[in-house]
């Protein structure tokens, strides 16, 4: 009898949340900016985290004889004014620039390399196990020293576009994984703290307070600097992720706690309690779902912070290090006055980082509006 009543109530709750979700989805779809941000993110994650080997024309470590070459312009009209529907780039010639006193590469208008789609190139294994050698674009049947560098090369002559694509994998994932860990830490501890109150609450509260007394960026830096240098790159990566999550969970925990405190007194929770529901059941069945929409919004809006934290730490030499390649690691080379003067195209990394951040902000903002479907506008 009791069980029956319980299931009926749950069915009803599900119906309500269904219609809530469909309302949210409907409102979200109407927000073009948010949908745009979402699509950009899906594209970025798909291209950079799942199939970067295919998107990038060259392997991450593929060095060439063209160090610090500037980006080749993709052309449709050649020096003679002839138009071709297939885009091409000119070959590169080595030259000494007298003014800069530096070796530079200039386009040789007598050599044309047409750019084709789906060309054979460096061998790879997608996701570590699907073998392949087809790349999205490149030069078909490329001979030695025939390359296309749409974003130039770095000091070892590696294609910068490929490196940005591969770098995005680590940077984008660290944001996502770090945020998931933050959510776990933050929502569980926040919920426990808000639900039980008393000594547990006291302890969690004091601890988050202590974390917030630290200025967060210096704390990141100090913790990241403490990662032993002899650790394997993978270990460093995970340690860094954990550090990011560890510093960030306090704020989330506080918000979840506040929400739980206000929800705890709501009628449906009191009703469930009086029906004899256990603590764990109450918390995970009734309380946490009530806070989920807020948590999702907070999480989406704080992923950019995670990505930025990785980027800035690695850029400062406190986070990831070569041979790992993330956007922050790329910035290490790009972010110096020397690099800006002589290889400014490496700042493409910045553009990619900004696109990712903006996309997350657009998405998060749209979600926040949509999660409150009865609210204004």
């Amino acid at each position: 009898m009791v069980a029956k009543a319980g299931t009926r109530r749950e069915v009803k709750a599900k119906q309500v949340s269904q219609s809530y979700l469909s309302l949210v989805w409907w409102k979200f779809k109407k927000n073009r900016v948010a949908v745009f941000g979402g699509i950009i993110l899906i594209l970025m994650y798909f291209c950079m985290c799942i199939i970067p080997e295919f998107i990038a024309p060259y392997d991450l470590e593929h060095s060439t004889n063209f160090p610090e070459a500037r980006p080749q312009t993709i052309r449709f009209i050649d020096a003679q004014g002839k138009f071709s529907i297939q885009p091409f780039v000119y070959g590169l010639d080595k030259k000494i620039d007298e003014k800069l006193r530096k070796r530079v590469f200039v386009e040789n208008t007598s050599v044309k390399y047409p750019i084709s789609l789906f060309v054979k190139g460096d061998k790879y294994k997608l996701l570590g196990f699907i073998p392949g050698d087809i790349h999205l674009f490149g030069i078909r049947n490329a001979q030695k020293d025939q390359y296309v560098f749409i974003m130039g090369t770095d000091s070892l002559g590696r294609d910068f576009f490929s490196r940005i694509i591969f770098g995005g994998r680590l940077s984008l994932l660290i944001g996502l994984i770090g945020q998931v860990l933050t959510l776990l830490f933050g929502s569980v501890l926040g919920a426990v703290s808000g639900y039980y109150g008393g000594a547990v609450d006291m302890f969690v509260q004091r601890f988050t307070e202590f974390l917030s007394a630290f200025p967060d960026i210096p704390l990141f830096m100090a913790l990241a600097a403490a990662i032993p240098k002899y650790w394997s790159p993978i270990a460093v990566y995970f340690m860094l992720t954990i550090i990011l999550a560890f510093v960030r969970w306090g704020g989330l925990a506080r918000q979840v706690r506040g929400l739980i405190l206000s929800l705890r007194e709501r009628e449906y929770v009191l009703a469930a309690k009086s029906a004899g529901a256990s603590d764990a059941r109450l918390m995970f069945q009734h309380l946490l779902p009530g806070t989920v929409s807020h948590i999702i919004v907070i999480a989406t809006l704080s992923i950019p912070g995670m990505i930025l934290a990785e980027t800035s730490l690695s850029w400062l030499g406190l986070g990831l290090r070569a041979p790992l390649t993330s956007w922050g690691v790329l910035l290490q080379e790009a972010g110096t006055v020397y690099a800006i003067r002589f290889t400014p195209w490496q700042l493409w990394t910045v553009i990619f980082i900004l696109i990712a951040i903006m996309a997350y902000n657009m998405l998060g903002d749209g979600l926040r509006d949509a999660m409150d479907p009865y609210g204004g506008r």
């Binding site: 007394a213 200025p215 967060d216 210096p218 100090a222 403490a226 400062l316 406190l318």
Partner: protein, 328 residues
């Protein structure tokens, strides 16, 4: 009030002690220390007496003693105003930081002022002209600003300066004033250089603040007391500034202490590194890299104190601005 201040002070002291201890632990975490790095360097150079030399240093800095002794010695000396010695520069941390503390605070203040001076009027305009073209432009700009971290923006500005303008915006002083004593000309020179890094550091915060101000004011404008003020015969501008904005701005004071200030301290440090400004930020990052532990520890403690003082000030400001808040 006195009670409140005393309690806050006690709390702050406890926090600073805890933070200093934890930072010390964190800084000591990585295996080895500055001297082992140095030893390796010297040995690589083939210096035979390196080992003796380093052992001497180790004894001099007390690095051969147990951890707790090291910490308490440092902490006790800290209270006396002796923050230890920088291994890297072989000079007292106090002197090194003293040179830069002023600039750090000035940059933070300038950033704060710029943030508020830009954000409040734009946020107000955006709210009272909701959905107008101006509102949409401001909303878009604030959105972009929010997603524009200072140090990346600084890199882009550096690019523009170096490649396009062919000049550098590095530093806070022109060449002739870098080491000059303070004078009127030097102050003017500082102001001329200061606004660029301050503006760059302010962009993220400004974007956020505009949005918060707009939201708060929109909410406040719907409150009955705004209509009541208008029904009393006040001018529209008086209704908005004296009644609506006056209320809508209060929550921003809380944000000022709890969110804006840490952002400015951290973000300012990153911008300072890109633009090579003489603030504590670059010194701190460098000391972390080199395991220059007294320097790093002192920097963290200073950042924390800056933050706690800022928090206290913003709480006092709020209590002064809002009679509903009582400090006790």
């Amino acid at each position: 009030m006195v009670n409140y201040l005393l309690r806050r002070l006690g709390y702050a002291i406890i926090m600073v002690v805890l933070v200093s201890f934890v930072s010390f632990v964190i800084i000591k975490l990585p295996p080895g220390d500055f001297l082992t790095q140095k030893l390796a360097q010297l040995q690589a150079r083939g210096d035979r007496s390196a080992e003796n030399q380093i052992a001497e240093y180790r004894a001099k800095y007390g690095l051969d003693r147990p951890f707790m002794v090291q910490y308490t010695t440092w902490a006790v000396n800290f209270l006396k105003g002796d923050f230890g010695e920088s291994f890297e520069y072989e000079r007292p941390v106090k002197d090194l930081l003293g040179q830069r503390l002023g600039m750090t605070v000035i940059l933070a203040l300038a950033t704060l002022i710029i943030t508020w001076v830009i954000a409040i009027p734009l946020g107000v305009y955006s709210a009272i002209k909701q959905y107008s073209l101006g509102d949409q432009v401001i909303t878009t700009i604030s959105f972009i600003g929010l997603g524009m971290p200072g140090f990346l923006l600084a890199l882009l500005i550096l690019y523009v300066a170096i490649i396009i303008l062919n000049q550098d915006v590095l530093g806070l002083f022109s060449k002739e004033y870098v080491d000059a004593p303070w004078s009127f000309g030097r102050v003017i020179d500082l102001l001329k250089h200061l606004w660029i890094p301050a503006l760059i550091s302010a962009v993220t915060g400004t974007g956020g603040l505009i949005r918060i101000m707009r939201g708060n004011l929109l909410e406040t404008l719907g409150q009955p007391f705004v209509e009541a003020a208008r029904a009393r015969g006040l001018k529209n501008s008086q209704v908005i500034w004296k009644h609506a904005v006056r209320i809508a701005i209060n929550p921003l004071i809380v944000i000022l202490g709890s969110e804006a200030l840490p952002g400015i301290i951290g973000g300012g440090a990153l911008v300072s590194i890109v633009l090579n400004l003489p603030t504590i930020g670059p010194l701190f990052v460098d000391s972390l890299r080199k395991l220059d532990m007294y320097m790093a520890g002192t920097c963290i403690v200073f950042f924390t104190i800056l933050l706690l003082v800022g928090n206290l000030l913003s709480d006092l400001l709020l209590a002064w601005a809002d009679p509903r808040i009582r400090l006790d």
